[in-house]
């Protein structure tokens, strides 16, 4: 009879020798998670949004978590996936900021540097087969050049005018490709907000791990601005017409 094993989240579980084959085994799964991040380029810079829910499996565990953060003066970072891993990353990035400040050399952290820094951490951790279970969206604007990049737990990275993580990659990305692609330099703020809200609304309707309390953020020449939480207007009338499904 096997003893009952208590499994700790992978971030705190020590490397254990497997009695059977001597191989090293680790639990590999996110525990408290955040869902999609949606971001795209528009005329003045980059828009991004993420809801405030931290799920524990299917349980809506924490309902006012912040998944958007500013790094330096003109870089915005959004995250989905394991939130303890994100808090670790937050810590690392704050430390990077402090070290940059101490340099006292009149230089500041650029968006591309922050992106490469996060990418290196992600790739190095995957190479240790002990990944940070996240997807990061990094956005910024220096000297009129818009930057929007992605990196995930595999260290896979890419840049694109529209980016959405998690379910957003399936539900929001098609909307963004239709409404943004090729128009990145034309879209005014007002339209950008509408697109963002439409994406987040679709995600709220269909992603069971989403939440109708979200923050949006933008990076422009004026720097980073992260909003207070807000809610979207929703309409559930269609639910009336759904029949079947055991109801």
């Amino acid at each position: 009879m096997d003893a009952i094993k208590i499994q700790l989240p992978h971030t705190v579980q020590p490397r254990a020798e497997n009695a059977n084959d001597g191989a090293v085994s680790r639990t590999m799964q996110p525990i408290v998670t955040g869902t999609s991040v949606v971001a795209f380029k528009y005329k003045d810079g980059i828009m991004m949004a993420a809801d405030t829910l931290a799920s524990y499996g299917s349980l809506a565990r924490f309902r006012s978590e912040k998944r958007l953060m500013a790094v330096g003066d003109n870089t915005l970072v959004g995250v989905s996936g394991d939130l303890s891993d994100f808090q670790y990353m937050q810590h690392v990035l704050e430390d990077l900021e402090t070290r940059e400040l101490c340099m006292d050399d009149d230089q500041t952290l650029g968006t591309k540097s922050v992106y490469k820094y996060i990418s290196n951490i992600m790739y190095n951790r995957r190479t240790k087969v002990d990944p940070l279970w996240n997807s990061y969206v990094v956005a910024g604007l220096d000297h009129d050049e818009k930057f929007l990049g992605f990196v995930d737990l595999y260290g896979t990275r890419y840049q694109s005018p529209t980016i959405a993580t998690g379910f957003g990659a399936h539900l929001a990305q098609p909307i963004l490709r239709k409404r943004v692609e090729g128009r990145e330099d034309e879209i005014e703020e007002e339209e950008a907000l509408a697109i963002l809200d439409d994406c987040m609304r679709v995600l709220f309707y269909r992603d069971a791990r989403s939440f109708n309390k979200l923050r949006r953020a933008k990076v422009t020449a004026q720097g980073v601005e992260i909003s207070e939480p807000y809610s979207l207007e929703t309409n559930w009338d269609f639910a009336e017409s759904i029949v079947g499904y055991g109801g």
């Binding site: 810590h91 402090t98 400040l101 006292d104």
Partner: protein
């Protein structure tokens, strides 16, 4: 110093018969030979200033900075060996980071001062090591407001309203004592700091020097940073005017 040459000054691991550790006192001498450094704690922040003596005209202006940043909210200026200073600032950065890693909170000034004091003190215990020839002045703005500490080579540290180290420290301290620090703003303190550094400067011994000024205050968002150029210019003009007036008075007295 009656005990000089009696053999009790070769190592920090031996006391003299009258209970002194000469190597530590000699380290203090190294501090006293340095260009003057001061710190002023006022009601809305702390100002650091230093007389950076330049040994050559060929040095690049503003290079070899003597005021450094140890954490977002902590500035350090030292009197003494710069090589030792850089090592200590590196240590202060590690201590600040370590504290933040543990508590996710800015290190309070008194904790950092204590840790730096402990670190220096260790170098007063063993014959294999040399005490740091540095007086470390730390300016900080923490949860309890503006803070100013000075850590000596012995590891002793005190909190101050105003402090000074280096060759002009007597002049500087006399001047600082005349100020009403607790009623002052940093903007006023910058000017006074500049004036004090200029008046402590001894033209006959050291010709070239550069004034460095930094602050950590409400206006800087409780962050330690260099004082903006315009304000430094203003402060220097104020200092030079004050010096001229002093000279005039002296001339009058003579007449």
């Amino acid at each position: 110093m009656t005990s000089i040459g009696t053999g009790y000054d070769l190592s920090v691991s031996t006391y003299s018969p009258d209970g002194r550790i000469f190597q530590v006192e000699y380290a203090q001498k190294a501090v006293d030979n340095s260009g003057t450094a001061i710190g002023l704690r006022v009601k809305d922040g702390v100002v650091l200033a230093v007389e950076k003596i330049k040994h050559s005209r060929l040095l690049v202006p503003e290079s070899n900075r003597r005021i450094m940043t140890a954490a977002k909210h902590v500035g350090i200026v030292s009197a003494g060996w710069m090589s030792d200073t850089r090592h200590l600032v590196k240590r202060a950065r590690e201590e600040s980071r370590n504290y933040h890693d543990t508590y996710k909170r800015d290190v309070p000034a008194k904790i950092l001062a204590e840790r730096m004091g402990m670190y220096k003190q260790v170098y007063t215990l063993y014959s294999a090591v040399r005490p740091f020839g540095v007086g470390t002045i730390m300016a900080s703005y923490d949860a309890d407001g503006p803070q100013l500490y000075m850590v000596e080579p012995s590891g002793q540290y005190f909190g101050y309203h105003g402090c000074a180290a280096g060759k002009g420290k007597q002049v500087a301290k006399t001047e600082i004592e005349k100020l009403k620090l607790s009623e002052m703003t940093v903007r006023e303190a910058i000017k006074e700091a500049a004036r004090i550094i200029y008046s402590a400067h001894d033209e006959t011994k050291d010709k070239l020097f550069e004034l460095e000024l930094s602050w950590v205050c409400e206006e800087s968002g409780r962050k330690h940073q260099r004082v903006p150029k315009e304000l430094i210019e203003e402060a220097i003009q104020y200092a030079e005017r004050a010096l001229d007036e002093d000279d005039d008075e002296m001339d009058d007295d003579e007449e």
